[in-house]
Symmetry: C2
Subunit: 351 residues, 2 copies
DNA sequence: CCCGTATAGTTAAACGTTAACAAACAATAG
DNA sequence: CTATTGTTTGTTAACGTTTAACTATACGGG
C-alpha cells in the first residue's frame, strides 16, 4: 500500500506538502503541485480512510439502521439513500435489526425489549465513527425511537421520531388514504370496508383518518363495523374480506397490498369475482399488485425518493454541524411529507 | 467520547495495561483486571474502531458489492451475509453497482464498460480498509468478474468467478431444472416449452441442460422450437407463451417467476386458463408466485443460505490469512452448490 | 545475601493522516 | 542595503490504539 510518505520521498518534499496539494489546502507552487499529482496518479495513491478518519473525526460513512431488510419497502429506500450518498461521497454501513434473534415485529409498545436490541447497535455505530445515522422503520411496530446519540446527527426515514429536533421524512398518509377513498366513492360505492393494521398503529391511524374524512365529505356516515383491524398480512385481508362479505360491503380499501391480496384469496376461494362481487384497493404498489388478476388499484409510495431525501437531510445536518458548530444548536428538525401516486388498475369498478 | 487514556487515568494504570485486559493479552493481576473492567463498564467505553483499524490493519468490516440491490434476490442474500457477519463480529459496507448512472444490465460481454464502473468501487473498498469483499451478482449479465484486489480476500455469491482461486457459492441449476422438468413430465406432458434468458447466459445454459437431460432420460426428443430465449422479464414470458400456444405446447417451464407471470398474462388475455389450457412452472419462488392465481409451482432458491455460506467462506479466508500468511497461498477456492427446493402449487396439472 | 525467575506493569514507538506553526527564501519598498 | 512582506515548504504534535521491549517487585533456593 502506497502512503503519503512514499509519495513525499519520491518527490523530495515533506508529507505535509503532499497532503496539502491533495486536499487543495495551503499554498503550493504550481510546479511542485503538478509533480506531486503526477506521482500520485502514477502510483495510484489513495489516502488511507482510517488514518484520515482518526485524525479528522470524519469518516464519510453513514450508518443505516433498518428495522427489517426483508420488508418490501426497505431495499428501495436504502437504494435512494445510497444514491444520495454516492453523489456526496459517503459510504453506507448497513444494520438490520431483524437479524437479531430476539427481535420481534410484534413489540408494539414494549420499549424495553426494543431498546435491548437497538442500543448495542447504536453503540457499535457510534464507535465505528460514522458521520451520521439514518433510521429506517418498517411499519408494523409502534415504538417511536430517538437514536440521537450524543454527537452523531440522525434522521428518520419512513418513521416518526419522538424528539422534534430530529428531521424525518414520511408520506402524506392521510391525504393518500383520502384520495383513494374518494376514488372508490366516485365509482358509486357507499358501503366501503377499511382493512388496517393494529388499531393503535401510527400508519393505521392516519390512513383511517383520511378514509373517514373522505366519507364525511361525501356525506356518508361512518360505520365502525366497516373498520377491520388486522396485522398488515395476507391473512388479515382474508379475514377482513370474510367479515365484510357477510355485511354486504361492495368495496374495500386494504391499507397494504398484501392484505388486498388476502381479500383476493377469500373471494377466489368462494368463487366470487374481484371487481364485480367486491371491488378492492390496496396501498404500497408492491410488485404483486400488478401480477394479481385483476391487477390491483393502489397507492405508490415514493420509496426511493424517501431514501434520497432523508440522506440529503442527513448530509445537510452533517455539513452544517461541521460549519457553525453549536450556532443555533437546537434548530427544529425538518419534516418532509411526500405525496403518494395513485395507480389506477382494474380492481375497483363502477357499482 | 471516552478513550483508553481516560480509563487508564481513572484506574491509575497505563493505557497498555487497560488495552491488555480488554484484549485478554499479557499478564495482569485479577485485582486490577476486575477494577479496570468495572470502570470500562461504568463509563461505557468502547474501543475506537478507526484507531484500532489503523494500528492493526484489521477493521472487522467487509464490503458487499451488489450488482443490483433492487433485484428480488439481492436483499435476502445480503440478509444472510449480515447474519453470518453478526455472528462473527463484522460490519457490512454496502455498494450497489446499479446506482451508477452508467451501469447497464445489458452489458453482456462488454468487459470494458463494466470495469469502468466496477474498478473505482474496488478502489474505494480497498482504501476503506475492509477485511474482505463479497461480490453479489444479479443474473441477467454475463460477465465474469475477478475482483481479487491484491491483499483483500474475496468470495462470490450467486456468481461465477473467472479464477479458480476465488471461492463461490451458487445453486445447482442443472439438477433443479431437471427436477422441475421431470415433475412436469410426470404429469403426462410431452410437449414442454422452455423460456430462458439470453442464449449465452450462464444460468440459462445450465438450466437448459437440466431441462434437456430430463427430456432425454424420459425418452422425449428435444425440439429446438420449444426453446424460447427471452430476457428474464415479464414480457419475455408473454412472448414465449404466445409462440408456444400456437405450437400446441401443453406446459411451459419459465426460468424465472416473472417470466412465468408473463405467461399468465398471455393466457388471461386470451381468455385461457392457466393449468388447464397450459400448465406453467417458474423458478425463484418470488413473492408473486404465491399471489398468482392459480398459485405458481416453482423452485425456491435458498438465498439467505447462499448469503450465509458465502460470508462464512469469507471469514474463513480472512482468519486463515491472518494465521499462516502465504503458507499455501494458492489453495483452490471452495465452491458450494446449493440445492433448491421444489415448491408444488397449482399451476401444473395432469394432462 | 545474592541470583535467577516469575509476575505485573510501564514506556515508547508505531499505524497514516492533518493542522498549527515555524522557517526559509525571494521580492519589493523605502 | 535593510526592513518588510509574501510565498512556499518543513517540523512537529496530535488522533486512539496495539505491541515489543523493558523495568520493577517479590519470591525461593542455594
Amino acid at each position: 500500500m502506497v502512503t503519503l510518505k512514499d509519495i513525499a520521498a519520491i518527490c523530495n518534499v515533506s508529507v505535509a506538502t503532499v497532503s496539502n496539494v491533495i486536499n487543495g489546502k495551503g499554498k503550493t507552487s504550481d510546479r511542485t503541485a503538478k509533480m506531486i499529482m503526477r506521482v500520485v496518479e502514477e502510483k495510484g495513491y489513495r489516502p488511507n480512510a482510517m488514518a484520515r478518519g482518526l485524525r479528522m473525526r470524519r469518516t464519510n460513512m453513514i450508518a443505516v439502521i433498518a428495522e427489517d431488510l426483508a420488508q418490501f419497502s426497505t431495499p428501495p429506500i436504502v437504494s435512494g439513500i445510497m444514491r444520495c450518498c454516492e453523489e456526496n461521497g459517503y459510504s453506507v454501513i448497513l444494520h438490520n435489526l431483524r437479524l437479531y434473534d430476539r427481535w420481534s415485529d410484534t413489540w408494539y409498545n414494549q420499549e424495553k425489549e426494543y431498546h435491548s436490541i437497538l442500543d448495542p447497535v447504536l453503540q457499535d455505530v457510534q464507535y465505528a465513527g460514522v458521520d451520521g445515522v439514518i433510521y429506517l422503520a418498517g411499519h408494523a411496530r409502534n415504538i417511536r425511537v430517538e437514536p440521537e446519540i450524543p454527537p452523531i446527527p440522525c434522521v428518520m426515514a419512513y418513521a416518526y421520531p419522538t424528539s422534534e429536533y430530529v428531521p424525518y421524512v414520511v408520506i402524506d398518509e392521510e391525504n393518500s388514504a383520502r384520495e383513494m377513498t374518494e376514488y372508490i366513492i366516485s365509482k358509486g360505492h357507499r358501503k366501503i370496508g377499511f382493512i388496517g393494521g393494529r388499531y393503535d398503529n401510527v400508519h393505521t391511524k392516519s390512513r383511517l383518518e383520511g378514509y373517514q374524512r373522505a366519507l364525511f365529505e361525501a356525506g356518508i356516515p361512518c360505520d365502525p363495523n366497516l373498520i377491520y383491524y388486522g396485522n398488515w398480512d395476507r391473512e388479515s385481508g382474508y379475514e377482513g374480506a370474510k367479515k365484510f362479505m357477510e355485511m354486504g360491503v361492495t368495496a374495500c380499501f386494504a391499507i397494504s397490498d398484501r392484505m388486498a391480496g388476502g381479500v383476493y384469496d377469500y373471494l377466489i376461494e368462494k368463487g366470487l369475482k374481484v371487481g364485480v362481487d367486491m371491488s378492492v384497493a390496496g396501498f404500497d404498489d408492491q410488485i404483486i399488485a400488478s401480477y394479481l388478476n385483476p391487477s390491483l388499484t393502489t397507492m405508490e409510495i415514493p420509496l426511493h425518493e424517501i431514501g434520497r431525501r432523508s440522506a440529503a437531510l442527513l448530509v445537510d445536518k452533517i455539513t452544517e454541524k461541521d460549519g457553525e458548530k453549536a450556532d443555533e444548536e437546537h434548530k427544529k428538525g425538518a419534516v418532509i411529507k411526500m405525496p403518494c401516486s395513485f395507480i389506477e388498475r382494474n380492481s375497483v369498478s363502477e357499482i
